[in-house]
């Protein structure tokens, strides 16, 4: 597609973007429930997003003594809204809501906000288990965030731009995932990290009675859980313009390819939850800084050399 210039659409289209994000999150919840049901020898589970939402909306709100309600609610609502901010800079084919010249940094800033939000949720409940969960997340954050930042550098160097649309356009012919697989892998680890998903869910694990969500109930729990799934979906969607060629693909229009690739990445991330054990925050710190961080920096070096070589 030579006319791969990004077109900024009117702000009204944000509603459609929100519905797409909701749809992806619904798909992730349903797929997870179906896989859970299968793992236990049962079937079904496709209605899980609807039944879960209905159940949480009817639940009574739990209160704790001397909770910091303001910070607690800010944490939950922030998780819900953060994912929208993230998808705002992702081009859907050639359309984008917000053609920011520093889109990658924007993505990074939003995923950093999750550090604050998850900790605030852990703090707000005034409960030991919640707070322990909040600190577990920060420990994971330190381990996955720096490798993630360096992984984000690789496509930006190759495209010579921090704008997401430019990076997608720079992959005509050869997708970045082909020649920067390490960066792609580290990026996906980062996405599961800031979604508190799979191996990075120790902040929510049952050995601390649910951790950050121990005291969460009703609509507060709904916005937090929805936020997690939407962050997972937004992260999967971001991998498409960054590594998977954006909207490029045969026959179908660009927007369709973006959605298809997003769904595929999201399905893999959901499926992997059952395949990878929980990462202990202290142990993963070593993996993050001794293995992933040098690997990501080496990847950046290779990409820089290739860019220099090609002039």
């Amino acid at each position: 597609m030579p006319e791969e210039t990004v077109v900024v659409v009117p702000a009204v289209w944000a509603v459609l973007a929100a519905f797409i994000l909701f749809g992806l999150a619904f798909f992730a919840v349903a797929l997870d429930a179906v896989l859970s049901a299968r793992a236990q020898g049962g079937s079904g589970g496709w209605s899980a997003p609807l039944s879960g939402t209905a159940r949480l909306l009817r639940q009574r709100r739990r209160k704790t003594v001397a909770a910091d309600v303001l910070l607690w609610r800010v944490g939950g609502a922030g998780m819900f809204m953060g994912a929208f901010l993230m998808v705002a800079v992702i081009p859907l084919g050639q359309w984008t809501l917000f053609d920011l010249d520093v889109g990658i940094v924007w993505f990074n800033a939003v995923d950093i906000a999750v550090w604050a939000l998850v900790w605030l949720m852990g703090w707000g409940a005034n409960s030991t288990h919640s707070l322990v969960g909040g600190y577990r997340f920060l420990a994971h954050g330190m381990a996955y965030e720096l490798p993630l930042m360096f992984a984000l550098v690789a496509p930006a160097i190759a495209a010579g731009s921090l704008a997401v649309g430019d990076i997608a356009a720079a992959q005509e012919g050869l997708w970045f995932v082909v020649w920067m697989p390490v960066a792609f892998l580290v990026f996906l680890i980062g996405v599961t990290g800031f979604s508190v998903w799979g191996p990075f869910a120790s902040a929510l694990s049952s050995d601390i009675a649910g951790g950050v969500r121990a005291e969460l109930s009703a609509v507060d729990r709904l916005v937090f859980e929805a936020g997690r799934y939407m962050f997972l979906a937004a992260g999967a969607a971001f991998s498409v313009p960054l590594f998977l060629g954006g909207g490029s693909g045969p026959w179908l229009p660009g927007w369709a390819w973006v959605l298809i690739k997003t769904v595929a990445v999201l399905a893999v991330l959901v499926w992997l939850r059952r395949k990878i054990p929980l990462a202990r925050p202290d142990r993963f710190m070593e993996i993050g800084w001794v293995i992933l961080l040098p690997a990501a920096v080496a990847q950046d070096l290779v990409v820089s050399l290739v860019v220099l070589w090609e002039g």
Binding site: L71, A109, I112, W115, A116, W123, L131
Partner: protein, 121 residues
């Protein structure tokens, strides 16, 4: 007009949230009041059309405040940091230093011979 209003709203938020740091009685609220103040400053930088600097300021400051939450518990021991407490100490020295620094910076901003704006006709 719009930019002017945004500037003043953000300025008030930045200064107000900065003052709140010393008013609130909780470590967490003080930390994140400071984060809100920095967030407002970051958006001010975006108003100057310095996208990279603005977004990176927000990124760094939010991360810094989250890390500060780790350090405050590490250095203060578990209990004091979790309890309501006064956010000020060494008041006379602190007020003296802050007034001095403010006068210095504000004086610098007012007295420096700013270069005339170029490239705009």
């Amino acid at each position: 007009m719009f930019i002017g209003i945004t500037f003043w709203v953000l300025a008030v938020v930045a200064v107000g949230a900065g003052a709140l740091v010393f008013v609130v009685d909780s470590m967490a609220r003080a930390t994140y009041a400071l984060a809100v103040s920095f967030l407002a400053v970051g958006v001010q930088i975006l108003l100057l059309q310095q996208s990279y600097l603005g977004v990176i300021t927000i990124l760094m400051m939010v991360m810094e405040m989250a890390v500060m939450a780790v350090f405050m518990v590490m250095f203060m021991g578990m209990n004091p940091a979790l309890m309501p407490m006064d956010m000020t100490h060494g008041k006379k020295t602190a007020i003296g230093v802050s007034v001095g620094v403010f006068v210095l910076l504000a004086g610098g901003a007012l007295l420096i011979p700013w270069p005339t704006r170029r490239g705009v006709h």
